[in-house]
Symmetry: C3
Subunit: 205 residues, 3 copies
Amino acid sequence: MHTFLIALDLVGTFVFAISGATLGVRKRMDLFGVLVLAFAAAVSGGIARDVLIGAIPPVALVNWHYLGVSCLAGLLVFFRYHDVERLRNPVQVFDAVGLALFAVTGTTKALAAGLGPMGAVLLGMLTGIGGGMVRDILAARIPVVLQSELYAVAALAGAALVVLGRSLHLPGAPTLLAGALLCFGLRYLAIRRGWRLPVAQSRRN
Amino acid sequence: MHTFLIALDLVGTFVFAISGATLGVRKRMDLFGVLVLAFAAAVSGGIARDVLIGAIPPVALVNWHYLGVSCLAGLLVFFRYHDVERLRNPVQVFDAVGLALFAVTGTTKALAAGLGPMGAVLLGMLTGIGGGMVRDILAARIPVVLQSELYAVAALAGAALVVLGRSLHLPGAPTLLAGALLCFGLRYLAIRRGWRLPVAQSRRN
Amino acid sequence: MHTFLIALDLVGTFVFAISGATLGVRKRMDLFGVLVLAFAAAVSGGIARDVLIGAIPPVALVNWHYLGVSCLAGLLVFFRYHDVERLRNPVQVFDAVGLALFAVTGTTKALAAGLGPMGAVLLGMLTGIGGGMVRDILAARIPVVLQSELYAVAALAGAALVVLGRSLHLPGAPTLLAGALLCFGLRYLAIRRGWRLPVAQSRRN
C-alpha cells in the first residue's frame, strides 16, 4: 500500500509538472524557465505543507524522484509541445487525478503530524491547490483555482472525507481511495458539465 | 487581559477577511474563491510570523476561530456586497484597527519566542502587512502597502514602541495599547489628510 | 575566511537590494515601499533557505547587518536615482556577483544542515534566485529569472560545483571560489554575448 501511494504521488507530481511546463511554454519562457515552472507547480503544495507541519527538510528536496519526474515532464512538454496541446482534455483529467491524490495524501501526512481535523483538512486542500497557485503567481496571473469550476471545493471534500474516516476509525487505505474518488469525481463532473459556484453581483470589475 | 487580546486579534482577523473578500468579489471570483481570499488576507501574516519563529503548526491552522471568523466575514461580503461597498470608509478604519492589533501582537509573540529588538519589530510589521500583501499577490496586483499612505510605516512605529516599552521594562498591557494607538493614529491621519511619503523622480514608469 | 565570506555575503545583499530599490522607484513606490522592496530582494532567498533547512529564526532577521545594508542601498537609489540609472551595466555585473556569492554560500549552508547533494544544489540555486523572484512577484511581473539569459542555470552550475568539490573532499575555500567564479563567468558571458537557452515553438503566446 505504501509503495502504491508513493507511485500515485509521483503520478500527481508528473501531471502537475505538465501543467506548469505548458504554461511556461505559452509564456515563451526558455528551457530552464519551463523546467523551474514545472518543478514549482509539482512540489510547492507539498513543500508548503511540510514547512507548516515542521517536516524539515521537505521530502521534495530530499527524495530525488520528485525532481526527476518534474524534469521528465518538463522536457516532454518542451520538445513535444504540439502533441501536448492536442492532448488538452486528457491533461485536465490527469490534473484532476493529481489534485485528488495530493489532497488525500496531504491530509494523511497532516494527521500523522498531529494536527486536528480542521488543520488537516486545510493542509490537505493546500497540498492539492498550492502548486497551481505558485505556478500562476510566477506567471503573473490570478490563480485559476480562485476562479474555476469547483477546483478547491473538490480538494476540500476529499480531504474532509479522509478526516471523517479517520475519526470513525475506518480502515486507512479504502478511506484514502474514497476521498480521492470523491475529489476526482466532483472535479471531473465540474469540467464536463461546466458546474460553477455562484459569483456575487458587483457594479465594478 | 489575555482573553481581551484574543478578542482584539479576532476583530483584526474579521476586518482583514472583509478586505480580502471585497477584493475577491470585485475580481469576480466565485463564492469559494472569495472565502479563500478572505482567509488568506486574514491569516497569512500570522502564519508567516509563526513559521519564521518556529511556532509550528501555526495557530491559525490549529485554532478554528480564525477560520470561522474569516468565513463569516467572507459570507457577509458575498451576500451583502452592496452594503459593504457603501460602508467603504468604516472598512478602511477597521482595516487600520486590524493593522494596529496585528502589529503589536505579532511583535509580542516574536519577543516571547526570543527574537532580538530588530527581529521582533520586523516580524510585528510583517504580521500587520503580510495578509494584505498575499491578498494582492493572489489578485495579481502590486501590494497596496508598497504604494499607499504610511501603511507599513504605521505598523513599524507601533511595533517599535512595543519593543521600546519592553526594553524599558514598562508594564505589558499599556505598552501594547500605546503601540496599537500609535499605529492606528498614524494610519488614520494618513487616510484622512492624504499624508504620503515622497516618491523619487524617475524618467520612466 | 569566515569573515571574508560574511563580507562577500553583505556585498551580495547590497547589490540585490539595489536591484529591488531600482524596480521600486520605476514602479513609483514611495520611500518606504522602495526600502521594503530592497530588503525583500536582498533577503528573501536566504530566508526561504533558512526556513527549508530549519534554521529558525532566519539569520537575516537576527543579524542587523542585512537590514542596515539593504536600507543603505535603498536610500542611495532613492536619492541618487539618476546616477544609478546611468550605472546600468555595472549594476548588472554586481548583480551577477551577488548571484554567484549567494548560490555558493547557500549550498554550503544546506550541506552543513545535513541535506544531500540534490537538496543542497536546489537550495543553493534558490538562495541565489529567490530574492529576485520575490522582488518581481511584489512588482506584479513575471520573474526575470524565468525568462532571461542563463540566470538560474549559472546559479545551478556554481552550486553543483560546490557539491562536487565537497564529495571529492577538496578544500572548502577554493571550491567556494571556483563555484562562484563559474556562476559569475557564465552569467557575465550570457549578458555580454546575449547567450540564451532555446524557447519552444508555440502557436499562441
